[in-house]
């Protein structure tokens, strides 16, 4: 049965710099990089060396602990550098692109058996787009998930609009869905935005459960949707992927190519003309930045959104799962008696600054902490922004003291760091909630599997 879920809790952060719904054309980027750090807990084993020629779809490295999971080059070109960090950890594999992309060819049949489909996805390097909950890691190909979830909308600040991005791609999307349906004996849940009139690409999709979710952020997060539609108990596994990755799967099965073309929104208050770009996963953002223009001052470039994204440099590359780049000002300035000021320019969930008088105002937030870390004092804040039947502060505390029993009882399997990102945002005591939850999940995973 399709569900209609209305969430009351949550928080939309109105930021300046929403992308206009137009595409800007830019020359294809020359520099690409694949970052093993985008994949949580991955230990990569390199297949290529510096100087090797690769095609789009050539395996660059694989998972040391599961050799079936391979990671491919997004374009054809030459491996220029393998960047290593502390303890020789591989941080980045850099590729200089050819002027024309040549592809490895994969011959795949969408009508094939489940095993053959999985093998095709694994061999081509498309598999890592499919992830699992709990733990938010790449799906284990040996599992049979109880359901697969696709959230067709993103409620995060300034997130790209998938209705716009996937406009007119009905057929391709349906091809991808047919492949995905093979991966589970359970249902494929396609969750659409109940606040708006979602695109026909999603509502006319066949063979899936279409659920309507409405509410503020994090209503668009898969974790929240899973909690309300088919919650995870200990031992359950569900898989999930993003709408644009469904298209990647479709292209693999129709054209036999590893084609990770992607539409990316360049957003944020520091971007002069925020808009959408057609590019490729892993491409350097420098072309986008130079085509557009970025306001002066010290800026932070984020691959992803302001709550969960990763900081990159001005010529850094788009993350594997990201379809948004955000540029906001750094906040490395002291503010005189800022905590006493009326604060008309300050955004707060509480009404302790007078900015609550203008609820529709769009804010230009910077990266300042707006305070210092303290012990927990205020209670009941996290509950307002986590639309789940979970006690978030108690769960965070259980993670801090590494009490695995308490974590399990309080629902650690149901949350991800990203679902708790707003808790981190609103925290008066400035706790690093996302990393605490992530470490809690890692601990549970290590001890219980």
């Amino acid at each position: 049965m399709s569900k209609d879920i209305r969430l009351k809790k949550g928080l939309n952060i109105n930021l300046q710099g929403e992308a206009d719904k137009v595409y800007a054309s830019i020359p294809r980027s020359q520099n690409f990089s694949i970052k093993p750090t985008d994949f949580h807990a991955l230990t990569p084993k390199m297949v290529v060396k510096e100087g090797d020629k690769v095609k789009a779809g050539t395996c660059l490295f694989f998972d040391k602990y599961d050799e079936r999971i391979r990671f491919s080059s997004p374009v054809s070109g030459e491996v220029t550098e393998i960047v290593r960090g502390a303890k020789r950890r591989i941080m980045e594999v850099k590729i200089a692109a050819d002027s024309e992309v040549s592809y490895e060819s994969f011959s795949l049949d969408a009508k094939a058996s489940r095993e053959q489909v999985i093998k095709g996805l694994l061999d081509s390097g498309v598999w890592p787009f499919i992830r699992q909950k709990p733990f938010d890691t790449i799906a284990n190909p040996s599992d049979n998930p109880k359901a697969i979830f696709i959230s067709t909308f993103d409620t995060a600040p300034l997130a790209p609009d998938n209705d716009f991005v996937l406009h007119g791609l009905d057929k391709e999307f349906q091809v991808g869905i047919e492949v995905i349906k093979k991966l589970t004996d359970g249902k494929v849940h396609l969750n659409v935005d109940g606040n708006t009139n979602p695109s026909k690409v999603f509502t006319d999709c066949k063979g899936v459960e279409i659920n309507k979710i409405s509410g503020s952020h994090p209503a668009g997060n898969v974790g929240v949707q899973v909690h309300h539609i088919d919650p995870i108990n200990k031992g359950d596994v569900v898989w999930y992927l993003y709408p644009q990755d469904v298209l990647t799967i479709a292209r693999l099965f129709t054209d036999g190519k590893y084609d990770v073309s992607r539409i990316v929104a360049l957003t944020g208050s520091q971007v002069e003309r925020p808009r959408y770009y057609r590019t490729i996963s892993g491409a350097s953002i420098s072309n986008m930045i130079s085509e557009n223009s970025i306001k002066d001052g010290s800026n932070r470039f984020i691959s992803g959104n302001v709550l969960t994204g990763t900081q990159i440099s001005a010529d850094g590359c788009i993350g594997f799962y990201d379809s948004q780049i955000t540029v906001i000002p750094e906040g490395n300035e002291q503010e005189f008696l800022g905590w006493i000021a009326p604060g008309l320019q300050k955004f707060s969930m509480s009404k302790s600054y007078f900015s609550w008088l203008t609820p529709a105002k769009k804010y230009n937030l910077n990266t300042n902490y707006n305070g210092e870390e303290r012990a927990y004092v205020v209670t009941g804040q996290y509950e307002k922004v986590l639309p789940m039947d979970i006690y978030p502060m108690q769960l965070v505390k259980a993670c801090m003291i590494e009490d695995i029993d308490a974590m399990e009882q309080l629902g650690i399997y149901e949350v991800s760091a990203e679902d708790m990102a707003l808790c981190e945002f609103v925290c008066t005591s400035k706790m690093e909630v996302q990393s605490i939850i992530r470490e809690g999940l890692d601990l549970v995973k290590k001890e219980c599997s």
Binding site: P231, N332, L337, S348, G371, T428
Partner: protein, 381 residues
């Protein structure tokens, strides 16, 4: 502003690692962050953060306390002039009260912050803002003539035994401001109860400043009291400095609830609990306190002040939303029960809140167990 920045910049090297006063860094840090919101930027997790921090939170509570503070100062002067039979203008009353009350505030903050700074330096962590509010709450719950040395001792007791032994702000079990009051009440009862302490110089001059609760406990009928319900609402009655005016307290409550700093759940359920219990006692009606109408019970004594400013302390109260209803309700119930059954000291709010501080974790435990059971049931279904 530039001046402060330069000044701080010039002394900073002494406090940093390797400087002469390295050990005093927490004290320096407290001053610097008091003047300037620090330039720290996010490095992991969310890149932007809500504008609120603990300083702002505490500051809003102080703002909410201002109506009580101003009214209390005026009332000190008003009650004194009333007792000695003189008439004074509004301004004269206020100025009189201001000069009587100021030393209490100064002693409370000076002593309390000294202890806080000492602990922060000793432990090498930054100074928490918790005492900004506690330091004002303590004098507001005191009689105006409390000797300053007694106030100082109770502040030290509250901060050290009530808070720091548990690990400081955020870790304490009992409300520090009430700990101070309870300490004074049991250690120096003559100065904290009876009918001779609530008006300035009553002890010396010998005029009575009996409180409503005192009269009721002495078996006066509530209708024959020397004050009518209007006085009780306005607060033109003897009592602890901050607690007499129901109107001023409610303005504070509105500020706390509107800004989202104070829990409306606790405030509401405390009043409901008190009302329900007082109504039950009305039916019984065995003594004058029992017979006093429920709505009168809620506006006299320190019931309202406790419900709005003490019970809502998030650290010592219940932390779950459902628990907050139970916690507040039981505070209201126990406050009236203690009032009615304890003729020696009819004010039960302080003890009711301290009692429920102890039980708040238990209340939360049962609320959370409910959530855990729901999850287990789902798994087994």
């Amino acid at each position: 502003m530039k001046l402060f920045k330069n000044l701080l910049g010039s002394v900073k090297p002494h406090f940093e690692k390797g400087g002469k006063l390295e050990k005093l860094y927490p004290a320096y840090d407290a001053f610097e962050t008091f003047l300037f919101v620090p330039d720290h930027t996010t490095h992991k997790g969310a890149h932007v953060r809500d504008a609120i921090d603990l300083k702002r939170t505490m500051f809003m509570v102080i703002v909410a306390l201002i109506p009580c503070l101003l009214f209390g100062m005026w009332n000190v002067g008003y009650q004194y002039h009333l007792a000695i039979g003189e008439t004074a203008t509004l301004v004269e009353n206020f100025i009189f009260g201001f000069w009587k009350f100021l030393p209490l505030i100064i002693v409370s903050y000076a002593v309390g912050l000294a202890v806080e700074f000492a602990f922060a330096i000793y432990r090498g962590h930054s100074v928490n803002e918790g005492y900004l509010v506690t330091g004002l709450l303590i004098p507001l719950t005191m009689p105006i003539d409390v000797p300053l040395w007694m106030l100082a001792i109770s502040v030290i007791f509250a901060v050290v035994i009530g808070k720091e032994v548990f690990g400081g702000t955020g870790m304490n079990i009992l409300n520090p401001a009430l700990t101070a009051r309870a300490f004074l009440f049991f250690a120096y009862p003559i100065y904290m109860s009876g009918d001779k302490v609530w008006v300035h110089n009553a002890m010396v001059d010998g005029h009575s400043g009996s409180t409503i609760l005192g009269e009721l406990a002495a078996s006066a009928n509530w209708q024959s009291l020397s004050f009518n319900p209007f006085d009780m609402m306005m607060g033109t009655i003897p009592g602890s400095v901050g607690e007499t005016s129901f109107i001023a307290i409610m303005i504070g409550a509105l500020i706390l609830i509107a800004t989202g700093i104070g829990s409306w759940r606790i405030i509401l359920s405390t009043f409901v609990g008190g009302f329900v219990m007082a109504t039950l006692f009305n039916m019984w009606g065995a003594n004058e306190l029992m017979a006093t109408p429920a709505e009168i019970h809620l506006i006299i004594g320190s019931f309202a002040f406790g419900a709005v400013f003490m019970a809502t302390d998030p650290v010592t109260g219940s932390q779950t939303n459902r628990g907050k209803y139970i916690y507040g309700f039981l505070i209201g119930v126990f406050a009236i029960v203690i009032r009615v059954f304890n003729p020696a000291y009819p004010e039960g709010m302080m003890l009711a809140i301290l009692l429920m501080n102890i039980f708040a974790p238990l209340v939360d435990h049962f609320v959370i167990q409910g959530n855990i059971k729901r999850r287990l049931k789902r798994a087994n279904a």
